[in-house]
Amino acid sequence: MTGDTSPITESDLLAYADGLLDDDRRTEIERHLADNPVLAEDVGHWRRQNETLRELYGHVARETVPARLSAHRMAHRVKAETNRNWRMAAAAVLLVTAGAVSGWFGRDMMAAGSLADSSMISEALAAHSLYTREVLHPVEVRGDQEAHLAAWLSKRLDRPLVIPDLRDEGLTLVGGRLLPANGGAAAQFMYEDDGGRRVTLYVVPTQNGKETSLRYVAAGALESFAWTEATLGCALVGDLPKERLQEIAVRAYRQLS
């Protein structure tokens, strides 16, 4: 192009050795290396490093992939597992209703470890029903003190919490509150749309750290989408069409993960 070449840096030389330069720059570097045997030796060495590393590890990619690493097989298993969780959660919701009548029986079933997720959803549904109909005191800390709310609940749940911003979904933050859960603490965030319809997000610390996909549970008029992240279990509850609630859940999930 023109004679004014930009100074040659180590990055240029690395890119030259890795074959990641365009033609013009490559020609310039070649000219430069011809006059600088020490640099040319470095570049030659880097290229031999690349060859050696490829020789050292390249064969792994040519091995037959073990069956346990088949993505299709794994997807099949994950789907089966999700369906099973869904059925357990649905059963748990029935048990909550039954538990109101039959006392300890339902509670005992809920205590089973395999139902931990289902128990989270039940708690989320119960907290939603209890507080969304509150007119005077729906929350402990109001949404206009969002920073304080986040700091307070992060401290009580002992992990950094992000309060999802759902304004793009037409939902403003009403506020949040602290709730008891399994001898520890949980948090509830409440949101409201223009029509005054309320959606709550229930967040509880988890220890097992197993991530799950989104699960859907319907309980009467209420519906919930729940998921588990590395350190948090979350359940979004509302009385909205399923697709709409899922959209909100995905948006919350992305901000929390």
Binding site: S11, Q49, T52, A71, E211
Partner: protein
């Protein structure tokens, strides 16, 4: 979904190669890939990455690997070093064999961040931009990391000079 799974499956050989090079242990490496794929499949029910799938998968694999290293550091390391060094397959007694074994050993001694970066470029053939995205660092940082990695590797493999020449 099926197309997404096909694309994921196409990345598996390279993921296994990277995992093996990071761990120098075939079983640990495949466990790592399995965790990575499972997480990818669970996440895919919610959203798909907008960028290249390959970089997304590598980034996830690396995060799991780093997490596991953090956990293992607390517990005593149960892996015998001899296994690690002997693991990569080398050709039988050829002149290059010594160089390969030496490089394998040197890769083990390389600081983790340098090893992660160098393998993405030298073995996996990522562009600098994609490798920087996998490592979640700016391209400038990647370049200086690669420069350090190459210098360290060289001083560790150079004849008669197994000592570090530069440590910046």
């Amino acid at each position: 979904m099926s197309q997404f799974l096909d694309q994921v499956e196409d990345c598996v050989p390279a993921l296994r190669r990277y995992a093996r090079a990071l761990t120098h242990n075939a079983d640990l490496a495949d466990d790592l890939v399995q965790d990575c794929l499972e997480r990818a499949i669970r996440k895919s029910s919610l959203w798909r990455p907008t960028g290249p799938l390959r970089a997304w998968l590598f980034r996830m694999l690396l995060n799991i690997h780093r997490n596991e290293l953090r956990h293992r550091r607390r517990a005593p390391d149960t892996m015998p070093m001899t296994d690690l060094v002997a693991e990569p397959q080398v050709q039988s007694a050829s002149p290059g064999r010594l160089a390969l074994a030496e490089t394998a050993r040197a890769m083990q001694e390389l600081p983790a961040d340098q090893r992660e970066a160098l393998l993405l470029i030298a073995v996996e053939g990522f562009s600098y931009a994609d490798a920087a995205a996998v490592l979640d660092i700016p391209v400038g940082t990647l370049m200086s990391r690669l420069g350090r990695a190459r210098a360290t590797l060289r001083s560790l493999t150079e004849e008669g000079g197994p000592k570090l020449r530069t440590m910046k």
